[in-house]
């Protein structure tokens, strides 16, 4: 699953890069932020919600789609709605989890 998420991120990277090339300087700057791993957004569309699963497609490349349990959607979201999906790298969260993992490994390997 972690791998899947990583690959989605990477697909998002490539997609956003393409958009930046077409939409001028602001977009390119946004892309630079994305490349620095800070913050960027993707435009997505809810293609359908069926059996409590929402199928989301990239606005610019509707061959790219992914599913999300519908209860994770914003309230009132429905088929055909467009959204900006924001990505902001959370280094604090990662560092906190890494610390927990380091501590657990240290305990288990008797290094503490």
């Amino acid at each position: 699953m972690a791998k899947k998420e990583k690959e989605k991120d990477a697909t998002a990277d490539e997609q956003a890069t393409d958009e930046a090339g077409e939409k001028g300087k602001d977009e390119a700057e946004k892309s630079a932020d994305k490349n620095a791993g800070q913050e960027f957004s993707l435009k997505i569309v809810i293609d359908r919600v069926e059996d409590d699963i929402a199928t989301l497609v990239l606005y610019e490349d509707d061959a790219v789609k992914f599913n999300l349990p519908a209860n994770y959607l914003p309230e009132g979201a429905k088929d055909g709605d467009h959204f900006q999906l924001f990505f902001k790298k959370d280094e604090q969260s990662r560092a906190a989890m890494k610390q927990e993992v380091d501590d657990l490994l240290g305990d288990l390997l008797g290094q503490k």
Binding site: M1, A2, E7, M97, K98, D102, L104, L105, L109
Partner: protein, 331 residues
Amino acid sequence: MKKSTRTLLLLALIVIALIFFYQRCLKRKEQPEPTPGPIAGKLVVRFLNIGQGDSQVLQLPNGQTILIDAGDNGKPTVQLLRDYGVQEIDLAIGTHPHADHIGQMVEVMRAFKVKEFWDAGFANNPTKTYRDMLAEIKKQGIKFAAPRRGDSRDFGEVKLQVLNPAASFIDDSPNNASIVVRVTYGKNRLLFTGDAEIAAWRQMIESAGDKLHADLLKAAHHGSSNGTNKDILDAVRPSIITISCAAGNDYHHPHPRVVNLLKRDNNVRVYRTDLEGTITALCDGNTIEMSTERQVDRAMLYATGDEVAGKPQSSDDGGAMDAGKRSRRSR
């Protein structure tokens, strides 16, 4: 050429073709699945059909059980282990901290007594799944180790040799941190590879090339092009390859280049969990008898992941590009 010589040559060719056909096609379909549980004098290895992910359970001739990986979150690993007669686990190995390998480890530890745990000790992929697994090991007080290349352990007559990772990790890829073990029982050798990618394989070939030979190779990384290539096959020289993946998976596993490579190799028999369900290798120390939950036409075993999924076939070049992207992504 005389007519009698021509006839003899023709007959010889027909006999060779029949032997080839028997070995490649008929023989594998005659074996029934062994009964659940350990079998005296045999090493029973089951490559569990848990969808996209890895999980193999080894039931040893002395009755001990080793689990290598546990499949992804939400997969029925615990039920399958029960179905196959597992009662407790002497050693569980989480090859590397990706959820499609360790996602069910907490459930396994809660369902069965696990006596010892081996983990790659790779902290640079700090996910909730990995944290929760380590926390459960700690909570239960399970004996824990992060083995390294050169370590080995005997379980009765079965020997485990660790071939990866090295003393220090080769890069920041969790896949390349995979614990790779060769299991030896008598003359039977089986290589379990996690998701080891080309960089890890290169290092293994350089540093432990003499220990890589195995009769059975679990294809690394679900048949991805970054887990199997000609150099790897030349180093391992397997006669059997198993691929653990799900039909219709998102990753195009197995990759066209891998299935084409295997298709050209007449010395290797291919087994796939996506098509054949759980695969069983019954080892008596001399020969390995393979059986599968389901049987499919031989031609299907060389179908790419996309062909199985009914998706448009990507070209070999497209595959190469795809492999490059994946390699970059996984770092």
